[in-house]
């Protein structure tokens, strides 16, 4: 007997997802204040960070702590390039390349047993960058540049540019998720033997996936540098922040949409808990501990998917 749906529920779910994404993108325009636009720019950077963590934590199933190091590399490269009077596209490209190289270097020593050693090598890299490299680097401030006739001095214009960059980065990850590259990376993460027997070179997959993640992290660092008109506060690159950022993929899940859901949930926390110092850090760390103690699979591929089936 053919089942007749009273409501086109699949379409409702897809439209619902679209409504959430559009609402997440346009709320700074509704509030229309510089503070809202700055917060929106930070959220766009968090989406890029979420995408960077989706490909490592989500695809390769590894506790990767490298993102603050790639953020620092990206921010420093952008600050140096823009401080030297060069263009923003060149700064962004440099930030992505520096992020990719740094990220690859953090995982390269762990390739013999990456799942066990990568958490340690990435943590060592973050501690080294935060504790030794950054304090010795002196980079000045710069004025926000003009890109293709658009002056990024205004917070609104910067938010739009950051939103566009976050959309591009997320879309690239979503495209790769269903391409042979993403399929093999996920297989290397969950069934490495089967992946090898299907033509994937695990070492190459680990390196290229970390390079992609580093490029996204570098782009997020560039956004934060342009927002701060120089190097952001050092706490952004701290090892504690590396653990807190893990809340994004753990909360969001392995699907690309999880990067947006996790970034929004983590990024909105200070708005909800305004007045609490370090609210975002506290909430994120608590979430990481909570998720580690449960079998939660993430909102998108766990909770939301189950909810969708129930509907």
């Amino acid at each position: 007997m053919r089942r007749v749906a009273l409501l086109p529920l699949r379409r409702v779910r897809e439209r619902g997802r679209l409504v959430v994404l559009v609402a997440a993108a346009v709320w700074p325009f509704l509030l229309d204040s510089p503070a809202a636009h700055r917060r929106g720019t930070e959220l766009a950077a968090l989406v890029l960070i979420g995408a960077a963590l989706t490909v490592t934590v989500g695809w390769l199933r590894v506790l990767a702590l490298h993102v603050p190091a790639t953020l620092a590399g990206g921010a420093a490269a952008t600050t140096a390039v823009l401080g030297a009077g060069q263009s923003l596209p060149l700064g962004l490209l440099t930030a992505m390349v520096v992020g990719a190289v740094l990220s690859t270097l953090t995982v390269a020593p762990a390739l013999s047993r990456p799942r066990v050693r990568a958490p340690l090598t990435t943590l060592v890299a973050v501690v080294a960058v935060w504790g030794w490299v950054l304090p010795s680097v002196r980079l000045g401030a710069f004025a926000r540049p003009v890109v293709v006739g658009v002056d990024l001095a205004g917070d609104r214009a910067l938010y739009l540019a950051a939103l566009g960059l976050a959309a591009l980065g997320w879309r690239a990850v979503a495209n790769l998720h269903v391409a042979p590259f993403g399929r093999r990376a996920r297989a290397v993460g969950t069934a490495p033997e089967l992946a090898s027997m299907s033509g994937a070179e695990p070492r190459r997959v680990w390196l290229s996936t970390f390079a992609l993640s580093g490029a996204l992290g570098g782009a997020a660092g560039a956004v934060l540098a342009v927002l701060a008109q120089g190097m952001p506060q050092a706490v952004v690159f701290s090892p504690v922040n590396a653990i807190a950022l893990l809340a994004i993929p753990l909360l969001g899940g392995r699907e690309p949409e999880g990067a947006i859901v996790g970034a929004l949930a983590l990024g909105m926390a200070p708005l909800l808990l305004r007045g609490l110092p370090e609210a975002q850090l506290l909430m994120a760390t608590a979430l990481v501990v909570l998720i580690a103690c449960t079998r939660f699979r993430g909102l998108v591929d766990g909770g939301l998917a189950r909810l969708g089936r129930a509907v």
């Binding site: 879309r171 690239a172 495209n175 790769l176 269903v178 391409a179 042979p180 590259f181 399929r183 093999r184 996920r186 297989a187 969950t190 069934a191 033997e193 089967l194 992946a195 090898s196 027997m197 299907s198 033509g199 994937a200 070179e201 591929d301």
Partner: protein, 205 residues
């Protein structure tokens, strides 16, 4: 031609076998899984593997696959992929870094290739009887669907030789159906097929 020289079968035996292109050979060994894994390059063991002009002795599993040697263990790990279709598409190989860049950018050509690969995987799944299971998570798929998916994964990479571990834990009717499919595909594609069975205790004595 597929040639195995002195491969250990995991139960103390040594295998020497040659299979010509388009031929279907059957061997019974003490531990078929160990032999299949050894041929694939993911298990321990020594011995020579040669496919046509390519000497694959000591080569990595990925290199063996790229040379055209597909090995089917007929069982999938619990977490092999989100769906049976994903497992089949795993055999659809990488096409170089520029294709990966095109896929990331979402070009029309990349979309076209992706759609072609999915259509080919669905057609293959239809021939092997996997169509009802394509969107099922691997964890929820029954053993015969997993065995078929592993076979379809191997065939989606257009191999030159196939080493098929006969899934003896399935019902006889399911095994017969898979064996007939393997023979049809071997004939159609001109594959060298080596079917690895488990030797009964009597035969081993």
């Amino acid at each position: 031609m597929l040639r195995l020289d002195g491969l250990e079968d995991g139960a103390g035996g040594v295998v020497h076998v040659e299979v010509a292109a388009g031929a279907h050979a059957v061997i019974a060994v003490g531990d078929p899984d160990a032999l299949a894994r050894c041929v694939a390059g993911v298990g321990p063991g020594h011995g020579g593997v040669r496919l046509g002009e390519s000497v694959l002795t000591g080569a990595s599993a990925a290199r063996r696959w790229q040379a055209g040697l597909a090995v089917v263990l007929s069982a999938l790990p619990e977490d092999a992929g989100p769906s049976i279709l994903d497992v089949i598409l795993l055999g659809d190989g990488s096409r170089g870094r520029w294709e990966t860049l095109a896929a990331a950018l979402g070009t029309r050509r990349a979309h076209g290739r992706s759609a072609d690969a999915e259509a080919a995987a669905r057609a293959l799944a239809g021939r092997i009887g996997l169509a009802p299971w394509l969107d099922t998570p691997v964890t929820a798929a029954p053993p015969h669907a997993r065995a078929s998916a592993d076979l379809a994964r191997a065939l989606s990479g257009t191999p030159k030789a196939l080493v098929w571990r006969r899934p003896e834990w399935l019902r006889p009717v399911e095994i017969r159906s898979l064996a007939a499919f393997v023979q049809d595909e071997a004939r159609r594609l001109g594959l060298a097929v080596l079917e690895v069975r488990e030797a009964t205790p009597l035969a081993r004595r």
